[in-house]
Amino acid sequence: MNNLVQFVGACETGTDRATFYNSATQQTQSLEELHKGVLDFDRELYSLALAFGGFNDYNKLLITRNLLFQTGYVIGRDGKRHHVRAGKSADFAVQYGFAGIEKHWRELEDRIIVQIVWDRVPIPRLLREFASWRKLRLNNARSKRLVLRFILGNQRLAGWAMRYRPGLKRALSHAWGDARARRLKKLAGEFLRDGGSAVDSDLDRWVFRFIGQSTRSAVCEAICFIFGELAVPFATPLFAQYVEALSNPEKLLGLPYDIAIGLRNRLHKDVPKSTLIGSRATQEQMSKKQRVKLQRSAAREGVRVAMDLGSQGLVEIIKYGYEMGFSGEVRDAVAARVKSDAARCPLRPRHVAVVIDTSRSMYGKDDRKLHPISVALSIGLLMKETAERCDLFYTGDVLDEFPIPTGDTDLAWAVLRAYKSEPELVLLITDGYENVTAGTLDHVVRALRKIGCQAPLVQFSPVLASEVGGDIRKVADSTYALAVGGPESIASMYAKFLLVGANDPEKLLALKKYLLGKLGGIEIPGKIQEALDRAEDLRLSSGGPFTISED
């Protein structure tokens, strides 16, 4: 299964958004083909692949969608492929030679879906995913149960209800069905008005069964709010404040920013926007993304929005710098983040040369602009921190530490300069399209090998090319090529190479054991742990072009 490495790379960099070269549809199709290939190869491995970390949200959600709605296969110890129905658990009995473990595997898959993916993906993104199920007409008992448990039993439900009302309404309506959703809204209202005495069996069956530690009245309030039933006694402070803010503009302060601004635009146009943006209470309710978005308009209004750059990833901080300028504060945040990422980075070469493609195509498309160059710079900065010596080279005339990508792609010259510094390893970060002149780098690398320059050339690609099947585009035959999404990808790089050995059923089992161990944060059903304990351990040893430590 050689495309496992390609799959993991794709999960880190591939999205449903257009790149400089490929349309969104082309990107989506090639990614879906890759996912289907791995799901058909081994369903369990497919779900456990999430343990690699560094997968982007789009791919995490695609994995959960496929686990919930697509059939798949597992490879048994007999080496044969066994079919697994959509929404059903993997047939562990076949694989491990004893019955009864299926339900435990199913439990584990559910936990992976909820705790590893849904809990960690931003809620607007997750709600868009749920909304896509409605469009794609995807629904089954398992998906309904998981969605209802996830939403209704969540301690953050009130905050979500306030901010993401339409998304939650769509998700709940899809899980319940539109007619039942209307009925449950009515029943929840009656429950609140009657002080909790009016409990209909439908409420029990479709709501209270899923609420976990939350209280019945809190969940009924959220349902009423989500479905627009506001004439009920709200005890939840945010809901009560919202209802008051409909008539009293002073109550806008402290509501989530987008909600406050929506109400202001609709009902209280005389309240200046800057009052809301500048309010500490409103700022406390802003998401990280909102703060970034608001920086520019806030500056125009003469208001400062406090920004916690420290909580963002390195690639995001660099993108923020491109958007807002690389002030001292941004540069400090970059430096701090590089230090913390470096502490976790297993790649610690002695002398590395990093070549960064700064050509026009590294700018990216409008909806993901400056993403490729930000990824490239993040790797360069990380290597500066982790390597004993790191020299940076660019393909164009770069004077700035954070250059704007422009011009053509002359990789050969930059790589040649990199080899002149006599490094042990050369990292070339490029999207893989050489045009001055295509093929020259390959000739130069061959010439370098002939004169004894044997330092490996590793190509990191921050984007995938759908025209080469969602893979990365290699610039020279003799390069190692890997997809990277940022510093996190480097951390999981070594583990990716283990996937190459997944063809052997024995190694596959060992790999699953290894991945299960890396999942972290979720309880592994005892029966599965017991079964996997019998598998051999994967030994991680240094090898290939990298000097890597596992921890």
Binding site: T406, G439, I451, E467
Partner: protein, 359 residues
């Protein structure tokens, strides 16, 4: 008798500097940069932002509205609207000049999607540009008022691409070879300030493209490289066959086979290679510089240039040597979209593509 303008390629390229050639497979693109600000004319609207397809009142007629109320618009030569709507895709037969905020109706446009009924709804649609081989048309065809006039040529082109049943459906060529055509966009990058390009395929100059401004260029570059010259390169590779493509690549300058003995030696070899590449492309272009072209004036337009006041622009067409249109302001060519009139003969595309790109 129509008014005529005589221009050679050197005059068309006046005021532009050639940048470093970008090369992939048998195709080369030489970027053109204005030599100074005086040769950069941002006084025209930008097609991707301002060229609204205002109507498709009957088959063979398209109405274009210039949504820029301050600047005139040059409708790019052979702009095509291949849309996802259940409507007959159309293309214009020439370029056009539309005054600021104005509307122009082109009744010599034609359908590029045979047997599809329906009119394209008005909108700012994404546009394409006809494949270079379809752009090679004589005056009669260009001016003929028949919405079916492109179908025979599209059918022939599809057949050359192995799409024998596609008939007069241009969209089938664009979708059938989407991946291959996309790669041409990937291979060639615009430079800052670029306003044009010379396109060389298999050592021959096949296209001269000049835009009035960098902004305008950005908006036409992808349709040109992907839909106009991409198919042309594929056809040329087909004509050459795998061995021909290999020998064409081998004929280009390359690093010497006898390897240098040091990095400095490789550096020197690379410098020499760059010089040789530059000389080679210069020779290809120089051969054509004196070629005299006769243009027939199609349209005059007077507009306000904020820098010079009232200015007259002339749109003219050429049908021999190179086919296409230029827009001239006095003796300065500020827009040109010309394809050489030599057409590569027929032959299978996909295999050729592999050799063309090494994929």
């Amino acid at each position: 008798m129509s008014r005529k303008i005589k221009l050679n390629l050197a005059e068309i390229l006046k005021g532009k500097i050639a940048g470093r050639a970008q090369v992939a497979g048998i195709m080369e693109v030489i970027p053109l940069i204005p030599q100074d600000a005086a040769h950069h004319s941002p006084v025209f609207a930008v097609p991707t932002r301002h060229m609204f397809l205002a109507g498709n009142p009957s088959y063979g007629t398209v109405v274009v509205r210039n949504a820029d109320s301050d600047r005139p618009l040059i409708v790019p030569t052979n702009a095509a609207w291949v849309t996802k709507h259940r409507a007959q895709d159309h293309a214009v037969a020439k370029a056009g000049l539309v005054g600021a905020g104005g509307t122009a109706s082109y009744d010599n446009a034609a359908c590029v999607q045979a047997s599809q009924p329906g009119a394209i709804p008005p909108d700012l649609h994404q546009f394409q540009i006809l494949p270079a081989s379809l752009r090679r048309m004589d005056k009669d065809l260009a001016e003929q008022k028949d919405f079916r006039k492109f179908w025979p040529n599209i059918t022939a082109l599809n057949a050359e691409f192995g799409l024998g049943t596609a008939g007069g459906h241009l969209e089938k060529l664009f979708t059938g070879f989407a991946k291959e055509l996309l790669q041409f966009v990937a291979e060639f990058e615009s430079l800052p300030g670029q306003v044009g390009a010379l396109i060389i395929i298999n050592g021959k100059l096949v296209g001269v493209e000049i835009a009035p401004s960098a902004e305008y260029w950005e908006s036409v570059w992808e349709p040109l490289i992907r839909y106009s010259y991409g198919p042309e390169a594929l056809l040329a590779a087909r004509k050459l066959g795998p061995d021909g493509v290999k020998s064409s690549a081998a004929a280009r300058p390359r690093l010497p086979e006898t390897a240098p003995r040091s990095i400095e030696g490789i550096e020197e070899a690379l410098r020499t290679l760059r010089r040789q590449e530059q000389q080679r492309t210069q020779e290809i272009v120089t051969k054509e510089l004196d070629t005299s072209l006769i243009f027939e004036v199609d349209q005059d337009l007077t507009a306000v240039d904020p820098r010079t006041g009232q200015t007259s622009y002339t749109l003219a067409s050429c049908y021999e040597g190179f086919v296409g249109q230029v827009v001239v302001e006095e003796d300065y060519v500020l827009y040109a979209s010309l394809v050489s009139s030599t057409r590569p003969p027929k032959r299978s595309i996909r295999d050729a593509f592999r050799f063309l790109t090494g994929m």
